[in-house]
Structure formats: structure tokens, C-alpha cells
């Protein structure tokens, strides 16, 4: 499961169109399933499933008619492949005689996914399947994808919701037509360069303004109930070499850890003191693990 993560206008849909052979690239090359997207477009189209961001069904056809239509284009047998879509289609099967345009948003999505799957594609392209979808339905949709993945289908999915990145095996962060970074979510989080601290307190908007005035604070953004601030690791210079040594050195391990801890405490003390000088009273600061959104913010500020 490969995720293409980025805001609107980053170029996600254009990339999808190129990979699904619907748009010819100006330059460069790409292959899907080993097939060239320009020269072998006919073969590609037989073997991929594509669910575009916009409603892709025929509104004036019924649910059943839409499914039969897509199956017949690909010369697929619905009965033979039904096991693939059963999990998804069973919820809309009772509405088989209803026109597609009269379905609710969630049901349209399930029908579109069923239609994209009915010819048993080797790879499935889903362009922003969860945009505008509420958090609970989004979670259900991703559980559905997880089950498809287990059936051996490769899934390429795009989203502007950064939290969904964690559900992908690998992700590419997209900004203004280029890839900022491309890795497993776990590796991306661990390659975060700065020290990340979470600050929370009583008057959050005021606290944010104060944090931005502190010179060692590189960036300060609100993240729900907390503010996330980054502090340059220069503070802890040389630390990266030490991390590698950690495993080899028995007792040294503890010392390095302590050193890191001391430096971290110094940074926290520094920020605390400056906040107090500006008049902030009750607040807490602690080190946290970055989210993908933190990574996106860090990478896009460098660029």
C-alpha cells in the first residue's frame, strides 16, 4: 500500500492520470506492472483499477447496472470475481435497483470501489477516496483497504489527510509537484531532524505568540490541544554519532543517554524560563515523537 500524501494542488491527481495512462507526460518515463505508461497504455488499462476523486459512476444507471457495465467493459465475470468485492458490495447489494445518483456519499464510494475492482486488477489506484469523509467512515474505509491488501492487490492511494499516512506501507510526501520525501512512515518519523516538543497551557493563542518570539524555537504550530515546537538539534551536536555507538558500548550507553537527557532538559529549561519572563504561568513542555504532519511541516520549510 503506497500513499501519496499532499494538499490540494500538489499534483497528486496529475500523477495518477499519468500512471493510469490517461495523460502523457512531457518528459521522463514511468512503468506500471512493468509496462510503459505511454507505449503500452492498452495493456495497462486492462490490468489496473482506477477510482478517480470525482464521482466516477453513471448516475442514471442503477447500482447493479453500473457493476455489470464496468464488468462488461473489462470482459469480467461478476460471479467469478464476486469474492473480491463481497466485503464491500454486500452493504449496497440490497439497493441494487436504486439509481447510483440517489445513493449516499458512503454508498457511492463503496459502489465506485466495487466497480474498480470487479475485473480483478493487479493494482488499484485510488485518488483521494476519503476527501470530505468524516473520521469514522474514513477509518472504516481504510480497514476495507487493509483487507484488499491482504488479498494481494497493490494499492496506490492519495490523500490530503496526513494521519492516514501511518496506514500505508510506504509514503511519498508531495508538495508543489515534487516529492519532499519518500520512505516508510516509521523511517520518515525517525529521520525528523529537530527536537520536537509539545507545549500546552491555559491561554493557547497567547502561548503560541510567545513561543514564536523565542530565538531557539525554529517553528511553532498548533496541533489540537498542544503546540508543537521544533528546536534545532545543533543544541545536541554530535549526538547522531553517539547514537550509533550506543549498541556497542555497554556502560557508555547510559552515559550517552544521560547526556542527551541533560541537553534536552536544558532546552526545556531554556524555553520554560523565556516563557515565564514573558508572563506565561501554567504550562507544560515535554518531548514527543513527531507525526507525519510534523515531518511534512519540517520538510516543506526546508524546501
Amino acid at each position: 500500500m503506497f500513499g501519496i500524501i499532499g494538499p490540494d494542488g500538489a499534483g497528486k491527481t496529475t500523477l495518477f492520470r499519468i500512471l493510469t495512462s490517461l495523460l502523457i507526460p512531457d518528459s521522463g518515463e514511468a512503468t506500471v506492472l512493468g509496462l510503459d505508461v505511454v507505449k503500452e497504455f492498452k495493456k495497462i488499462r486492462e490490468r489496473i483499477g482506477y477510482m478517480p476523486g470525482k464521482f466516477s459512476l453513471y448516475g442514471d444507471l442503477t447500482v447493479d447496472e453500473n457493476l455489470s457495465f464496468f464488468a462488461s467493459i473489462f470482459k469480467a465475470n461478476i460471479k467469478e470475481n464476486y469474492h473480491l468485492i463481497e466485503d464491500i458490495f454486500k452493504d449496497i447489494a440490497p439497493f441494487g435497483k436504486r439509481k447510483a445518483r440517489d445513493l449516499s456519499g458512503g454508498m457511492k464510494q463503496k459502489l465506485a470501489l466495487s466497480c474498480a475492482l470487479i475485473h480483478k486488477p493487479d493494482i488499484l489506484f485510488l485518488d483521494e477516496p476519503t476527501t470530505g469523509v468524516d473520521p469514522v467512515s474514513r477509518r472504516e474505509f481504510w480497514q476495507m483497504l487493509e483487507r484488499l491488501k491482504k488479498q494481494g492487490i497493490t494499492i496506490v492511494v492519495s490523500t490530503s489527510y496526513m494521519d492516514e499516512a501511518l496506514l500505508c506501507s510506504r509514503i511519498a510526501l508531495f508538495k508543489e509537484g515534487s516529492i519532499l520525501s519518500y520512505n516508510t512512515p516509521k523511517e520518515m518519523v525517525s529521520s525528523f531532524e529537530n527536537t520536537l516538543l509539545a507545549v500546552s497551557g491555559e491561554n493557547m493563542p497567547e502561548l503560541l505568540k510567545m513561543l514564536r518570539k523565542i530565538s531557539i524555537v525554529k517553528s511553532a504550530y498548533s496541533f489540537g490541544a498542544q503546540h508543537h515546537i521544533t528546536v534545532e538539534r545543533e543544541e545536541n551536536k554530535g549526538e547522531s554519532d553517539k547514537v550509533e555507538n550506543r549498541e556497542n558500548v555497554g556502560n557508555g550507553n547510559n552515559i550517552e543517554k544521560t547526556n542527551r537527557e541533560i541537553k534536552l532538559q536544558a532546552v526545556i529549561a531554556n524555553v520554560t524560563q523565556q516563557l515565564q519572563q514573558m508572563g506565561a504561568s501554567s504550562f507544560t513542555i515535554k518531548e514527543i515523537e513527531p507525526t507525519i504532519e510534523d515531518c511534512y511541516l519540517e520538510l516543506s520549510s526546508v524546501k
Partner: protein, 247 residues
Amino acid sequence: MNSKESQNRNIIEVESLTKKFGSFTAVNSISFNVKKGEIFGFLGANGAGKTTAIKMLCGLLKPTSGQGTVAGYNIATSPEMVKRNIGYMSQRFSLYQDLKVWENFRLFGGIYGMKSRDIESVTAKMLKDLGFEKERNTVVESLPAGWKQKLAFSVAIMHNPAIVFLDEPTGGVAPEARRQFWELIYLASQKGITVFVTTHYMDEAEYCNRVTIMKDGAIEVIDTPQNLKSNYGVNSMDEVFYELAKV
């Protein structure tokens, strides 16, 4: 701030508000108040009845039964006065892409019934505050998405309405722009403009003074994010939402 009496005035008062479409009840007897300057989050799953409720509050849809006033005007009997005293922005409807920045201000100012002189001075001030003075003559279409959002919000509050309705204003917006947008919301709230906002980002629900979650046409809960989290014994609004929706 909330010690001042004027700050405690209700901008929205709703009592047993109901909307039926044939035999289907989209909004089922909802009641709540929103205070002046409050940032009020209006959440719920797709199909819970949020859009129908917002349309009634904006004077675009007549309630089947129940009472409601927005900015002091009855939503059933004076919908035109409601429309004049609110601002509205959504992802789908915001600016005219083929007009220049200043032309959008001019057009919306006119729609809101502002005087030409006021429109000019407000436009100049808002562009200055945003640091967009250079883009005055730029066609909106060619601006980055994050800028468009900010401009759309400024246009929605240029007539200094009592309340602004924001329907999923940040969907698909880049992380940094999304946060800058919320800073604008805070500024508006500090100026006394009430903000009524829907979102699917649960971190943004945390930024609201109070939040309500709708389910099947009714209001399930209404409280501060802090209280909701502690009542459900969870750490984030995302979990609150999930707990509520799964039952």
C-alpha cells in the same frame, strides 16, 4: 474576557429546531445557544444533518418547526435580515476565480450592502493585514490555495458580521496554511465575531471553545473539548468522535 456582560450575549439561540423532508427527519428538535465571540465547532458524521441545520441558521431553508434567532433575527420570519448579518464561507463556495482580488471584495461588499467608500477602506485594510497588497490586481485563480482560503475568509467577514459560518473551510489545505487559517479565526473571535465552524479534522475541533456533535439529526453532546475528553476518558477529540459514532 467573558466577565464582560456584552461578551455573554447570545448570537445564536435555537429551540427545538426541526426540519423534515417528507417522512425523513433531517434535523430532529435541536436546541443550543452560541455566545458572542465564541468559536463553536459543529461536528458530526456525513449525513448527520449538519448541512441542513446550517442552511436553516443562514436563512436559506425554512424550519419545519421550532424557533431560532441568529444575530438577533428570527430565521423563519426574517431570513433576509439574517443573511445580511452573517458571513459564509465553504470549500465549494468562496471567491470568484475569474475576478481579481479587489473585484471580489468590491462584489461581495456590494452584496452585503456596504457603501463604496467603506468597501475601499476595508479592502485596503484587510489586504494590508494579510500582507497581500501586491496581489490586489491578481486574478484569484492564479493564487496558491492557502492564500485563496485566507482571502475568502477576509471577504466573508468584510462587512463585520455578528457571526461567520465556515463549512469545512480547510479541507485539502496544506498543513501550514491550515494552521495560519486558524490564526485568522482566532483574530476574528478576539474582535468579537462569532465563528461557527464545521470540520473533519479532529485536531481543529480542539481549537474550538465549545463543540457539538450531531448524530442522526440530533445533538448528541455539547461541551468544551476538555470536558468531552474527560467525560469519555480519552485523550483526543478523534477518540470522542469515534466513541460517539460507534454506538
